[in-house]
């Protein structure tokens, strides 16, 4: 039985059939109203409950993740801070060992200088010229009354005066000599003073450097305390620092990848001479994969070298090795890098030779001989390629530093991103829960809208029934009250 046959079951008229079917459907829908309402409400409530639960569990997961992120952030910050403080103490130790170890020598030096100055000072003290003992005798003699007529006395006195003047002159010479010596001693003290001044300045410098370091340590310690106490400001600072590190390290890594690509292009072509130019491995040229492997080995060696030098801390096993073993590892990794760099330089040279051969062949086949670069200019590109081939492996060694920062910061950044994603999902499910509730209500209303005619009739019927009931009740009450009044 086709649809049209079913449709026209009641009447040949399309319009009449439509009316009959509408009435039938409406009546059936009206009859199924309560179970349908219950079903819609149940489905809506079920979806709402499921979405709410999902949202709550996602929020819970987000909280756990945030806590975990915070722990990771604090742990990383504490480690970094400890590392910095350790380094500062190491510098202070170095200052103390190198500079202040000379302090006893310096002290002795200064002490010697002070003693010498003291001695010189004592020696340079002015000693008053000794008054001749016979001066009083001369004075007494001089007071003897003399007669001008006695030439003998006058002669004696003249002699005494002459001797006195001579003595005075001698004393003056001696005094001048001693003064000169004193001045010489004082002059000799000048370099000692200067030396002492320089020594004291040096001490001052060392002490100031030490003070500066101690101030830095104080700052670091304050930061460390904040981190240990897990303060909000410390968390914010660490989070911001982590994001900055992530982007900066990512940028540097992108540059390094660019370098690796150039390196790859330098060696991929000549690698075909070693491993063949036609083989494929997993859809890629074998020569290309071999070149890639060499570059990755170089990067790995770079990582080990940086790790052995304790510049990075990606492999705790290497960091905890004995110093002798670590130094040995440094030499081994460096040697391998040197060999690989030399191999790359050789391959870069080979590349140039092959490129020239290709160009010559192509020119001879296609007849474009003018395209070949002159022999005299060829050495420039060859040297440049060889130089790049040699330098790039060593440049790639430093990839370890941004890589470490990237890995460490990516833990935090990925955590933040995951937390954000969880929060978004939780919000989405929360919205979905509310939406399902409102959709349920809306579907119920739409259902009722479709059967509004039977519902209207039902309302009227109930209304009239209620009115009749109310009227009967009112009449009985009215009769009773009238009776009571009467």
């Amino acid at each position: 039985m086709s649809f049209s046959e079913i449709y026209l079951l009641w009447s040949e008229s399309v319009a009449l059939s439509a009316v009959i079917w509408s009435v039938i459907i409406m009546v059936l829908t009206y009859l199924a109203r309560d179970p349908m309402h219950k079903m819609i409400e149940a489905v809506a409530a079920g979806v709402r409950s499921a979405c709410q639960q999902t949202s709550e569990s996602l929020m819970g997961a987000e909280k756990k993740l945030l806590d975990r992120n915070s722990e990771v952030l604090i742990a990383a910050g504490r480690e970094a801070s400890e590392h910095l403080i350790e380094r500062e103490f190491s510098r202070i130790n170095k200052i103390v060992e190198m500079d202040l170890s000379e302090y006893p020598t310096l002290h002795r030096k200064i002490s010697d200088v002070v003693t010498r100055i003291d001695e010189d000072y004592k020696q340079s003290a002015e000693v008053p010229p000794e008054a001749p003992g016979w001066a009083k005798a001369v004075e007494a003699v001089a007071k003897i009354p003399t007669s001008k007529s006695d030439p003998m006395v006058g002669q004696i006195l003249d002699s005494i005066r002459g001797s006195m003047e001579k003595n005075h002159e001698k004393t003056l010479v001696v005094y001048r000599e001693s003064s000169r010596e004193r001045h010489m001693l004082l002059k000799r003290m000048l370099p000692s003073w200067r030396a002492m001044n320089n020594d004291l300045k040096e001490v001052d410098l060392h002490v100031n450097a030490l003070m500066e370091r101690s101030r830095i340590v104080d700052t670091q310690m304050a930061e460390y305390e904040k981190i240990v106490n897990e303060t909000d400001s410390a968390k914010k600072t660490l989070s911001s620092s982590s994001l900055t590190q992530f982007f900066v390290a990512g940028f540097v890594l992108a540059i390094a990848i660019g370098g690796a690509v150039i390196n790859f292009n330098l060696i991929a072509r000549p690698m075909a001479e070693m491993v063949g130019g036609s083989g494929l491995l997993m859809g890629y040229k074998t020569a290309n994969i071999a070149a890639l492997v060499i570059i990755l080995v170089e990067v790995a060696m770079g990582l080990f070298l940086m790790e052995s030098l304790r510049i990075t801390r990606l492999f705790p096993v290497i960091g905890s090795m004995k110093d002798t073993m670590r130094v040995r590892m440094i030499w081994v990794t460096f040697s391998i890098l040197l060999i690989l760099a030399s191999v790359e330089a050789g391959l870069a040279y080979m590349r140039e030779v092959l490129a020239q051969d290709d160009a010559a062949l192509r020119a001879s086949l296609v007849g474009n001989a003018g395209a070949i670069i002159g022999v005299s200019e060829r050495w420039i590109t060859t040297a440049a390629q060889m130089g790049m081939g040699f330098i790039l492996p060593f440049a790639l060694v430093f990839v370890a530093i941004p890589l470490e920062s990237f890995i460490h910061s990516s833990r935090t950044v990925l955590g933040i991103m995951a937390a954000g994603a969880l929060r978004t999902m939780a919000f989405f499910f929360s919205v979905l829960a509310n939406t399902s509730h409102y959709i349920g209500s809306m579907l119920t209303s739409i259902y009722d809208l479709f059967i509004f005619i039977p519902l209207w009739i039902e309302t009227i019927a109930r209304g009239s029934g209620k009115f009749a009931k109310e009227k009967t009740k009112f009449d009985s009450l009215h009769t009773q009250s009238t009776k009571e009044v009467l």
Binding site: R269, A272, E273, M274, V275, G276, G277, S278, G279, L280, L281, T286, I289, A290, V293, I294, V297, A300, F304, M329, V332, T333, I336, L354, D357, D358, L361, R362, S364, L365, V366, G367
Partner: protein, 217 residues
Amino acid sequence: MMRKLILTAIVVTLLAGCSSKEELPHTRGVYMLLDTSGTYTEELVKAQHIINYTLAKLSPGDTFAVARVDTASFSEKDIVAKVTFDDRPSAANRQKRQFREKVDHFVKEVKPSSYTDISGGMLQAIEYLNEAGVGKKTILIFSDLKEELKKGYVRDIPLQVGGYEVVALNVTKLRSDNIDPREYMDRLQMWEQRVQSGEGTWRVINDLERLDSVISD
């Protein structure tokens, strides 16, 4: 560290070992038929350019053969030069130079043949390329496509060219074609039908500037 170095060496060796000939579906094989009948030999200079161009485009591991079309072309003796290029690019370049020398010598010394056995040449090409085990197979026919068989030679054999690309190059118009172009069209159509019934693809390139679409990098 030494262990790592040795491991790397092993990996590189293994990678090299993986490049066996049986596993090279990406390699190309080109077989070029040169029509040496009558006055068409004058066109062989153009064929030289095409050969040189093809040599320049082919890579290590690819196969290339040039054969003449004469009275009885279903023969290895008609192969002028053939090569499967070495894996190493430098060796492949040497082979290309030698190949070109052989072709140059042939073009210089070639004598016109009385008949044109294109079908025999095609059969020989199919046999050769199937044996070479290459991935992409191309047959270049440098001819006016006018087949003239000596009496007694049977060539109404279906061509099994499934997976082949057959390209007719420099299909010159004969004097009779100019009188009645339908002859030229019928000739092209006949070859197209033969190739397509053998499940191959058929193309005609008369403008040699468009060769890059035949041998892509």
